[in-house]
Amino acid sequence: MNPAMIVFLKEVRENLRDRRTVINTLVTGPLMAPLIFVLMMQTLITRELSKAEKPLPLPVVGAAYAPNLVAALKQQNVDIEPAPSDPERAVREQDTDLVLRIPEDFAASWKKGEPAQVEIVYDDSQRDTGSSVARLRGMLEQYNRQTGALRLVARGLSPAITHPLAIADRDQSTPQSRSSNLFSMLPYFFILGGFIGGMALAIDTTAGERERQSLEPLLANPVPRWQILAGKLGATTAFAITTVLLSIVAFAFVGQFMPTEKIGMTLQIGPRFVAWTVFVMLPLAALLSTLQTLVAAFAKSYREAQTYVSLLMFVPVVPTLLLSVMPFKVQAWMYAVPLMGQQIAITRLLRGDSVLPSSMLLSFACTTVAVIVLCVIAAQVYRSERLAISA
């Protein structure tokens, strides 16, 4: 049997006996992504649904000064609540989302036909308040328009003269594309899965082997070093790929049960999504494993390797953040960049956008080339004398 194969089988066998590694590869890595995602979706969906249907609780200061306005709000499913003594503080301390304040002189201005001020007190940095504020503002605007129109009619004018422009929205977004920002994080979870799956082996087969002083006897065997390296890389990649595969399948399975259509989103998680995602992720899993092995090979100890490899985990965050924070037009060449290509491809697949097979092939080919280059570098590192010495 080929020596690389012998090394491969031994590393797989040995690491399958390590319960922590097996749990990371088969459970933690694959499940983390779908679970986090489901939790995120569930929270989002529940929140959106409850906000839209439930009555809006609204503490009002000075409700007595504008009984008509308050009555109109009540009609629109607003629960008028007694106001806290200090509205600003109550909002800052998140005792309430928002407070409507009607000043004492409201009635006087109203009667004179001057704009009567009302204040919405809220904290924009609180994530939850946005939709409540928008809802209240919409109601106030509506009341504003209605009353304005009535006043014009009372003076014998057509309300239309205050609307020189008629604006009509023609939104071209689809349910899928609306959900895209949310889903631009998904590829990172798959990538993270591969990272977790390969991590234990990348460290154990390099820095770990040196630390437990078994590398020197191993290298005394009549096998070229690159073949030993090939077996180790193969084992690490096999674990990483297992994690990624399970992760994708688990996500596709769980995704079927997410009630995304309730908030007008649709996910395309069919066999097509699974097949293409696996296709672009395979070389990436190999790339990450090789990178981990290379980094761990430089470390003097197991602990040091763990630190390096953990830091490495932040590298894939970069394209994810870049793509979600500053959305730009997808260019064909972007598929050629490892990590970025996978990021774009998976996001587009999920949105149901068209992805050219040629783009997929480009991503696959370029990532594979990167793997080969890294393997050659790793083989060079393995040839160095320093690598073999334990202490």
Partner: protein, 244 residues
């Protein structure tokens, strides 16, 4: 047979081996004796091709290590200073792994492993995972692993290091047995008595240089000392690093 000619190896400014030349013959036990830091481990590492010497030649059974390192490693059984085992594998699996890397078939590995287990008296630990092995059990496993391919040349770096009295005695018997089988045994040590009791030939190394290469008797005659330890001290020029 192992031959070392004018071996030279430096790490930065430190010259670890400075022109060492010696020979270890088949059917003999050759002891590489020297204080700590004399260059014994580096010399041995050059022998089993873990390191490339800056200058000089290493020949194993006439094969130049610089030309065909893999063939040299095939003819060597090596117990390095580092003798870590795979703790999640059993002793037998550890041995088996190296046997396979040597390209042996399963039946040969099985026969030889059984023989080694009997010879090293390790029947009780063979099927146990090596995690938690004592130092002696670890060394036994490492030796069985290093000799699975029945090499004609055996290199051991401080083989009795960390062993108790009983295990040390067993190790000495084992080395004699290897010699009896006609193998070339080369081991390093900084322990005088050990070398005196075992070796047919003593290569004394100090500061990376070979200062003597004789039989124990010739060594005594050469230095004019009847006691081998005194002879040794005289040769290396100090009592530094000399363990009793």
């Amino acid at each position: 047979m192992i031959e070392v000619r004018d071996l030279y190896k430096r790490f930065g400014k430190v010259i670890a081996v400075d022109g060492a030349t010696f020979r270890a013959r088949d059917g003999e036990i050759t002891g590489l004796l020297g204080p700590n830091g004399a260059g014994k481990t580096t010399t041995l590492r050059c022998l089993y091709t873990l390191m490339r010497p800056d200058r000089g030649q290493v020949l194993v059974d006439g094969i130049d290590a610089a030309v065909d390192a893999v063939a040299v490693r095939r003819r060597l059984g090596v117990l390095p200073d580092a003798r870590g085992l795979y703790k999640r594998l059993t002793a037998r699996e550890n041995i088996n792994y190296f046997g396979r890397l040597h390209g042996l078939d399963a039946a040969t590995i099985r026969t030889r492993t059984d023989a080694a287990i009997a010879a090293l008296d390790m029947g009780d630990i063979a099927e146990r995972r090596t995690e938690g092995f004592s130092q002696g059990q670890r060394v036994k496993t490492a030796i069985a692993r290093a000799l699975i391919h029945a090499p004609t040349n055996v290199i051991l770096d401080e083989p009795t290091n960390g062993l108790d009295v009983m295990a040390t005695r067993a190790m000495r018997e084992f080395l004699k047995r290897l010699k009896g089988e006609g193998r070339c045994v080369l081991f390093s040590s900084h322990i005088m008595q050990e070398v005196a009791a075992l070796c047919d030939r003593i290569v004394v190394i100090a500061h990376g240089r070979v200062v003597a290469d004789e039989s124990p008797d010739a060594l005594r005659a050469q230095t004019g000392e009847t006691n081998l330890e005194d002879a040794f001290v005289k040769l290396i020029g100090s009592e530094e690093g000399l363990a009793a």
